[in-house]
């Protein structure tokens, strides 16, 4: 019997076989490579955390080793500033936590040791214009002065919103204060030339990237406020 290559049955069977074969091949590739990809993602996250304390691993260095060298402690706090046991700060999904009410969140905190000085690194997550934005902000041992910040985005507009991951923008946070005159106030991002309505510290937003700048401001607000108890306690201790 000669196979009729143009018949409907042949076409349907052909498609089914093709889909199964291709699906199996893709599933196998994905399974075989997922471990390495996961490692790369972890290394990338470590790089980002280190960027917030102005540390960039050199070309030959393994991010994990540099990370272990600088990051002295990783802990998870609750809204009252108490340490929560049995949680791993590195594995907490900040994007998910940032959607919960601020008193119900698990708050990861990385304690870095930069040349003998303690820095507290706080992860943040929010939304820009087109998709998620995230970042890390490091705060000095006095609990108020910003030591460094790092921002990243999934797909903001190049040249406009996407500028938030550039050093010019990230470095403008250095030296700002989150506690002013004993009051806790996250830094705002405002239009260049303008001032915020309160007396909090502010940085210039990006011209043409208004929504992304507002997103950064909202993210700072949303993600720093839960740490108020902890940072205030650190600040009181130092004064």
């Amino acid at each position: 019997m000669k196979l009729n290559r143009q018949s409907n049955i042949y076409t349907v069977v052909y498609i089914i076989i093709m889909v199964v074969v291709v699906g199996a091949a893709l599933a196998y590739t994905s399974m075989a490579l997922s471990e390495r990809q996961g490692e790369n993602e972890r290394a990338d996250k470590m790089r980002q955390i280190l960027a917030s304390i102005h540390v960039v691993p050199a070309a030959g260095e393994k991010p994990a080793e540099v990370f272990d060298w600088y990051i002295a402690e990783q802990k998870v706090l609750d809204a009252s500033g108490q340490v929560v046991d049995g949680e791993n700060a590195f594995d907490i999904d900040v994007a998910q936590q940032s959607k919960l009410p601020s008193d119900k969140r698990l708050l990861p905190l990385f304690v870095a040791d930069v040349d003998g000085a303690t820095k507290y690194i706080i992860p943040m997550s929010g939304t820009g214009l087109w998709g998620p934005i995230w970042g890390y902000i490091s705060i000095d041992a006095d609990g108020t002065t910003v030591y460094g910040a790092y921002f990243a985005h999934k797909g903001e507009t190049p040249g406009l919103g996407a500028e938030i991951d550039k050093p010019q923008f990230c470095n403008s946070f250095d030296g700002k204060h989150v506690i002013k005159d004993g009051v806790f106030q996250p830094i705002s991002v405002v239009k260049p030339g303008m001032r915020p309505t309160g007396n909090e510290d502010y940085v210039d937003g990006i011209s043409g990237g208004t929504i992304t700048s507002k997103g950064v401001s909202a993210m700072l607000d949303n993600c720093l406020v839960p740490y108020r108890a902890f940072l205030s306690a650190v600040n009181r201790e130092k004064n």
Partner: protein
Amino acid sequence: MAEKVSLRSVLFNPLSRNNPVVVQVLGICSVLAVTVKLAPALVMGLSVIVVLAFSNVIISLIRNTIPTNIRIIVQLVVVAALVIIVDQLLQAYMYDVSKQLSVFISLIITNCILMGRLEAFAMSNKPWPSMLDGIGNGAGYAIILVIVAFFRELLGSGTLLGYQVVPQWCYDHGYVNNGLMILPPMALIVVACIIWVQRSRNKELQE
């Protein structure tokens, strides 16, 4: 003997005389997008060569079994599967590059060169010539990508493959990187210059 000559032309014609980018003007989209720096352009070029060679061979192997009314779908599935595999491999072994190329690797699927070669060549030729055709066309695409990226990175950032090549004293004497080269339209202008040079040297292509 006659076949040998034709195999050679299958491999080498796309490099210049029948180049997919500057003669057939296919795949322009990714030329704009990934040629700001040389390194991603190289990886992109290699990825297209690999995907094009393998998809040509696979389609050529099964060309007699494909029902004609779904042949485009079959070609798409093969290309899409290969692209996903390349993407996964890049994520696993060249994470930084894959972050830089991000969406453009997946967009290889929509690169007209691929579907064009599958439909025009692989559907009616044996696997070996199909593979040469894939490599040739992929290389023709990659060459243009690399030439464009070379000029854009050199003039736009003063670097090549990330290394500084324009010496500091040039900057001290007032030389400034041309920011315009980093913007997408300049890729088109560089491609146009390549087309100009190529046509003026190659009388056959003049219309």
